[in-house]
């Protein structure tokens, strides 16, 4: 025990003495949280909208006015011809193109139905999908309003039949994407910093030769590893705290669940990451190698974590792979506890899996750390 304290003391001294590392540990994560949380948005806004109005009637102008009034669409361009509109789409000046055909108003009154042409730039498929929904919503609302007009002028026997759905968005009522993203990005920060610090640390001692000096002392492997990892565990918990405070102060993210529960989970989760970091550093000889491997895993872990894309939409085999992704569980737990107020029982599956993961990774780390070659 005393031995461990000496190592911890030494590690903290070295961390706080390293003027290059300190800002990386404490300032960069804050930047990341603030910048990423504002930038990593799924909302599609400022859609460049153009139209070809071949009808030039009150109805067609009313429809265009609906788009004009929407906050999602801006820069309304009136194209005189289809050729010009296509050229603009090719140049990227227009994302969504609405074509109102000749005799739109007349046919609508006569036949009670009509069609509109909508062209969407779908290079970004996700954005195109969202744009389609926006267009459909606006046209539907327009439909409702003219139905009433049409009924007045013509057949009174036909009652308007419409089924309306009123969605209720639970846990994130206003569909604020930041509420969704900030807990996830917090997960990234805690993970990246602890993984990189622990991954580099022992390799660094290998590089400068001090590890050999440690290996000729009678220190026990577990003592050394606990002493090495504890400071990073503390830093990880510190980062979580800073991140949660920022989430509350800057982004006003709700904290519905229990804070101690979140800390309990994180305290186990960080052990997984530290175990991985240590495992990496045992199998590498230089900090560069450790860095590359750490990057490789971080990128896969992040992209397969359900942070940016839902795990349910992944192919079956990829879903199975995510079972081995610690970040996945952390993202789930963060969102569950912070936004849904999930309790201990709700996160028990994630907690158990993470605890097993932590045990396995640290056992591997201790096993693979060899005092004797």
């Amino acid at each position: 025990m005393k031995t461990i304290l000496y190592i911890i003391q030494k590690e903290f001294k070295q961390i706080f003495r390293n003027k290059g590392m300190l800002p990386i540990i404490f300032v960069l994560p804050i930047f990341q949280l603030v910048i990423l949380s504002n930038a990593a948005t799924f909302e599609v806004k400022n859609i460049k909208f153009g139209y070809i109005d071949s009808d030039h009637t009150a109805t067609s102008r009313a429809l265009i006015e609906k788009f004009n009034a929407s906050t999602y669409f801006n820069v309304l361009t009136d194209f005189p011809s289809e050729a010009l509109a296509s050229a603009a789409m090719l140049k990227g000046e227009v994302d969504v193109l609405l074509e109102i055909p000749n005799y739109f108003e007349r046919d609508l009154q006569k036949e009670k139905q009509n069609s509109l042409g909508v062209t969407i730039n779908a290079i970004d498929g996700a954005a195109a999908g969202v744009e389609k929904v926006y267009v459909t919503q606006i046209v539907q609302r327009f439909n409702q309003s003219i139905k009433v007009d049409l009924l007045q002028v013509s057949d009174k026997q036909i009652q308007p039949i419409a089924i309306e759905t009123i969605p209720l968005f639970w846990y994130n009522k206003t569909l604020n994407y930041k509420t969704f993203m900030v807990p996830g990005i917090l997960v990234l920060l805690v993970t990246m910093i602890t993984l990189f610090l622990s991954g580099m640390n022992i390799v660094r001692e290998k590089e400068i030769g001090t590890l050999e000096q440690i290996n000729v002392t009678p220190i026990k492997k577990s003592q050394f590893i606990i002493g090495k990892l504890f400071p990073f565990w503390v830093i990880g918990m510190g980062l979580l705290t800073v991140g949660l405070i920022l989430a509350k102060v800057i982004f006003n993210i709700p904290m519905i669940g229990s804070l101690p529960l979140l800390y309990l989970y994180t305290s186990i989760y960080i052990l997984v990451i530290l175990g991985i970091g240590l495992f990496i550093s045992n199998f590498t000889d230089t900090q560069q190698q450790a860095m590359f491997i750490a990057w490789f895993f971080t990128v896969i872990f992040i992209l397969m974590s359900g942070l940016f894309t839902p795990i349910e939409s992944m192919p079956k085999w990829a879903q199975t792979l995510t079972e081995f992704n610690p970040i996945r569980y952390f993202v789930e737990v963060m969102r569950m506890v912070m936004l849904k107020g999930s309790g201990f029982k709700d996160i028990l599956p994630q907690l158990l899996k993470t605890a097993i993961y932590a045990f396995v990774m640290n056992a591997l780390a201790v096993w693979s750390y060899k005092k004797t070659n």
Binding site: K2, T3, K10, Q14, I208, Q213, V216, P218, N373
Partner: protein, 242 residues
């Protein structure tokens, strides 16, 4: 192994693939002896030493250090030995005091004992004025002397020194050997490798390794007589050139 033998090596071998870095060496070292372990670069000195201090597993042969077997009791060996590597291996970003405290701590010394040790070592080394300076800022000679002192912090039975005076000026080298003598006088066995043949003359006994094998082992005086030369340098040249 009688009570007076602290290192006993028999047929110790380390293979890297087909290459025998250390090829069946046999020797023993007596308590309180200064044992010079000589050889050209790449002769296998460091490899042999690493097997004796328990950080490299031998491929074949037997070895006992401080009464413990290198295969099964490496961790026990580590309690009884000190080691100073070729490469400076204290923490540059810790102060002189912090380095002594850290190594004292992991060897299990009490707080009180560490305090005493710091006072003694700083005085002996004449480093009182720089005790709160980062080790990285010290000149190489001072660093080496500090390294040596740290390797003796837990009063080991044997201390292994791998080229301790490499790159050090003649005055510091002289002081360094005074420290070695003092340690030996207090009963510590010193196992030292060096490239300086004048240093070989200071050793009680000297072994010379060539291509993984020990080609000569005796007191400097007898070796000179055996090869009919008048200094160790010529002994070394005769052997190393084959």
């Amino acid at each position: 192994m009688d009570n007076n033998t602290v290192i006993q090596v028999e047929g110790l071998t380390k293979m890297y693939g087909d290459f025998a870095a250390v090829d069946a060496i046999t020797f023993d070292v007596k308590k309180g002896e200064i044992f010079g372990f000589l050889g050209a670069n790449g002769a296998g000195k460091t490899t042999a030493m690493k097997m004796l201090i328990g950080i490299s597993k031998p491929t074949a042969g037997k070895a006992q250090v401080a009464g413990f077997d290198v295969y099964k009791q490496a961790e026990n060996i580590k309690k009884s030995i000190g080691y100073m590597s070729q490469k400076f291996a204290l923490y540059d970003d810790l102060t002189v005091k912090e380095n002594i405290t850290f190594f004292g701590g992991i060897y299990g010394l009490s707080r009180k004992r560490i305090k005493e040790k710091i006072a003694i070592l700083l005085e002996e080394l004449g480093l009182e004025d720089v005790s709160d300076q980062l080790v990285g800022a010290l000149p190489l000679g001072w660093k080496q002397k500090l390294s040596f002192s740290v390797s003796l912090i837990h009063d080991p039975k044997i201390v292994f020194l791998d080229e301790p005076t490499g790159g050090v000026d003649p005055i510091t080298r002289r002081q360094f050997w005074e420290m070695i003598y003092k340690a030996a006088h207090q009963g510590t066995t010193v196992f030292v490798t060096t490239h300086y043949m004048d240093e070989a003359e200071y050793c009680d006994r000297v072994s010379i390794m060539v291509n993984g094998k020990i080609e000569a082992l005796d007191t400097p005086k007898k070796l000179k007589a055996q090869f009919q030369v008048d200094n160790m340098n010529d002994v070394f040249l005769k052997l190393a050139r084959g």
